[in-house]
């Protein structure tokens, strides 16, 4: 009985530490990029393309590409300065929805005139690439060198300025907008209900477990 209670207390402490660590981190923010507004390509197979004249901001942690899939295949992103590989990153399969975020090794300075290449595959399901329409000479180009109708939507992400803790009030205000119940107190209600769930679950385990 004592060991069980000790285990519960220890596990809760670990979970609390993980929560504090997570909420101490700064959420990612977009430091540079273009929002997609047009179809650029679609395929049922592998996809690979590059686009020139990208600028890689310093301290970026990830790049968000406007590529959509039901079951996203593996994605690899590489950034070149001339022929030299500057940074790269990859994302395992099973991303979904309208974009894929690929973590990148951060750089210590801004670098311009970059060629950014993305390779998606192996793939056998519908894949959609979005971006902005451009002239052929500015457009992304396929692995065979053929220009696409435009540039792929790319957003560069870096850590934000404040932690989740410092944004708590802003998040609470946001949670009170666009619901049947409006006002920041909705966030408080969520916190109270979640607390009640935790208390009920822990008390029940405390009581029932030998």
């Amino acid at each position: 009985m004592r060991a069980t209670k000790l285990t519960i207390a220890l596990c809760l402490a670990v979970a609390a530490v993980m929560a504090v660590v997570t909420l101490s981190e700064a959420p990612a923010r977009v430091v540079r990029g273009v929002r997609a507004n047009a179809d650029v390509a679609s395929t049922d197979g592998d996809f690979a393309a590059c686009q020139r004249e990208e600028v890689l901001p310093r301290d970026i942690s990830a790049v968000r590409m406007s590529v959509a899939a039901g079951i996203g295949p593996p994605v690899r992103v590489r950034a070149y300065s001339g022929a030299r590989l500057l940074t790269e990153g990859s994302r395992p399969p099973n991303w979904t929805a309208g974009s894929v975020t690929v973590p990148l090794k951060p750089l210590d300075r801004n670098v311009s005139n970059i060629t950014l290449c993305v390779a998606v595959g192996p793939n056998s399901d519908p894949l959609y690439v979005y971006g902005v329409l451009t002239l052929p000479q500015q457009a992304a180009f396929s692995a065979q060198g053929q220009p696409l109708p435009g540039r792929i939507g790319v957003e560069y992400l870096a850590a934000g300025n404040g932690s989740w803790f410092s944004r708590a009030l802003a998040v609470a205000r946001h949670m009170g907008i666009g619901h049947a119940l409006s006002g920041s107190w909705v966030a408080l209600l969520v916190a109270v209900l979640t607390g009640a769930i935790a208390v009920l679950a822990v008390r029940l385990a405390w009581r029932e477990l030998p």
């Binding site: 596990c11 519908p126 385990a205």
Partner: protein, 534 residues
């Protein structure tokens, strides 16, 4: 059980602590006494229901309360109409409530939703937020003001007659949802919130029934059942679904009730009354959602197994209850087919269309697709899921966390961590099964029935995905929410795993499991908050 005409359930050899069966369940005996007393005092049905509710252990009520609160929290976190297919399900309820008619496929050009719903969806920026994880929910006072005006605009609540992807679904769940819809006083957001809370109640009911099922299947160590039910009530995808408007949630409750009825039938025999309840539940399932056909397959296998067991004991009259249950269960489908045939439509509606599409395909391709949807590809099969390990990448990772409109996920390292935890639980579960192998062998018919339910559901999901993805070349749309009808089995697996840890470590394993599920739930909610409000 006084009305049971079946032979007594076979005695299961007691060979281990982990799978021990109580020869005379204590609560059954108490129930008989309570029922007799209730009848004697003339309280009738009300008294019996009251007695039944009093028999429910307090731990079950607490687990159900947690499930309800969890669903309520998710309903507050998820922005309106960002639950999967919520606009379509809302449109179905609205069509029923406002016109008293079922949605239908309309050929002419029109909006899928009523002007009022379409306006609110626009005010919420719903189409631009769904599936695009970088676009948060509306955030400014100006947007809130516009939304309030949209909600109060008083436009028509009558649509063009369709209800999007929900159009072909059966009506029972939507009929029930017309009650919270009516209570919402013409305010679209209030109506949706009340409908979500109704689903949270269904979630609580699911956990209550799952608790009873786990106790019925594994009566030896009652507290392990509590751990299993507690983990179900804290499972975050289940919480997310219980907090959104979706007929799937009613299917979870119906499936949990069916699991319980089957477990009782295998353990205590199937009485006529039990058969009527079981048959009614099958009928309710058919009237709730088309995918129930997969679950129903397994339930019919279970009824067949019960019949075979009775035949073995040379008691032919005992075949009546299984036949009665099957007859009642299949009645709505037969009636539907008859009405359609008489009115010159396809006998099974949308299911006929699906059948027609599948009839024109090669069976090997369909089998290959369904196999690969869950298991590694075998030599000679077409490569349908290049670069993806479906069991790991689709099913496991997405059960770990895929919220919102399939657009909110954990980072990959969380999936890896969860895999370690799940593997440990699976090993403990296997250990418990090996330790109780004699009991497992003795109950193989019952276990085969549960396996048939799993198989039926997996094949049903696979067939639907094959039709859309491989034949019609649409996006792969596989969602682990379809598998949550099997939640009672997850509860049993957790309870078994805890017991598999051995007498000394079992309580500690139980404590770890409960806090792990609780933490998973809270972090999932934070993930959703970050996606929509961060």
């Amino acid at each position: 059980m006084s009305e049971s005409i079946s032979t007594p359930p076979p005695q299961v050899p007691v060979d281990s602590d982990s799978l021990r069966q109580d020869p005379q369940p204590e609560h059954a005996a108490v129930g008989e006494t309570v029922r007799a007393r209730a009848l004697a005092t003339g309280r009738g049905l009300r008294g019996r229901v009251g007695a039944l509710l009093r028999r429910v252990p307090s731990a079950a009520w607490i687990c159900a309360s947690i499930a309800f609160l969890n669903g309520a929290v998710w309903s507050l976190i998820t922005p309106p109409f960002q639950g999967r297919d919520e606009p379509a399900h809302f449109a179905y309820v609205q069509q029923l409530a406002e016109t008293g008619t079922l949605p239908r496929v309309v050929e002419e050009e029109h909006s899928e939703y009523s002007p009022q719903e379409a306006l609110v969806l626009a005010g919420l920026h719903q189409p631009t937020i769904q599936l695009i994880p970088q676009i948060p929910a509306i955030s400014s006072i100006a947007e809130q003001r516009v939304l309030s005006q949209d909600v109060d605009a008083g436009l028509s609540s009558k649509g063009g007659g369709e209800a999007g992807v929900a159009t072909s679904e059966p009506p029972l769940y939507y009929v029930l949802q017309t009650v919270p819809y009516a209570l919402g006083a013409n305010n679209t957001l209030t109506q949706l919130q009340l409908m979500r809370l109704f689903d949270a109640l269904l979630g609580a009911l699911t956990v209550l029934l799952a608790f009873a099922f786990i106790r019925e299947v594994l009566p030896g160590v009652p507290w392990a059942a509590t751990v299993g039910a507690l983990c179900i009530s804290l499972q975050p995808l289940f919480g997310f679904m219980s907090g959104s408007l979706n007929p799937e949630v009613m299917l979870y409750a119906v499936s949990a009730a069916l699991f319980l009825c089957l477990a009782r039938a295998f353990r205590r025999g199937l009485s006529r009354r039990g058969a009527i309840v079981l048959g009614t539940l099958i009928a309710v399932g058919f009237l709730t959602k088309l995918t129930f056909a997969g679950v129903a397959f397994g339930v019919f296998v279970g009824l067949l197994a019960l019949g075979v067991r009775e035949l073995r004991s040379h008691n032919r009259r005992a075949l009546v209850p299984p036949a009665l249950a099957a007859g009642i269960g299949i009645a709505p489908v037969a009636l539907y087919a008859l009405v359609n045939s008489l009115s010159g439509k396809q006998s099974f509606g949308y299911a006929s269309t699906l059948g027609g599409v599948l009839a024109n395909t090669r069976i090997f391709k369909a089998v290959s697709y369904i196999w690969e949807l869950y298991l590694p590809r075998l030599p000679g099969m077409v490569h349908y899921f290049n670069g993806v390990s479906t069991s790991r990448d689709i099913w496991f990772d997405r059960i770990v966390g895929l919220y919102g409109w399939l657009d909110t996920q954990f980072p990959s390292w969380v999936d890896n961590l969860a895999l370690i935890f799940a593997s440990a639980m699976a090993l403990l579960c296997v250990r418990a099964l090996i330790a109780g192998r004699r009991a497992v062998r003795a109950r193989w018919l019952e276990l085969a029935s549960y396996a048939a339910i799993v198989l039926g559901l997996l094949v049903m999901v696979g067939v639907a995905s094959y039709s859309g993805n491989a034949l019609e070349h649409k996006d792969v749309y596989v969602d682990p929410r379809y598998l949550l009808s099997l939640l009672p089995l997850l509860g049993v697996a957790v309870a078994l795993a805890v017991r598999g840890a051995g007498r000394r470590w079992a309580p500690i394993a139980g404590a770890v499991a409960v806090v792990a599920f609780l933490s998973h739930d809270v972090f999932s909610q934070l993930q959703e908050i970050a996606r929509y409000y961060g």
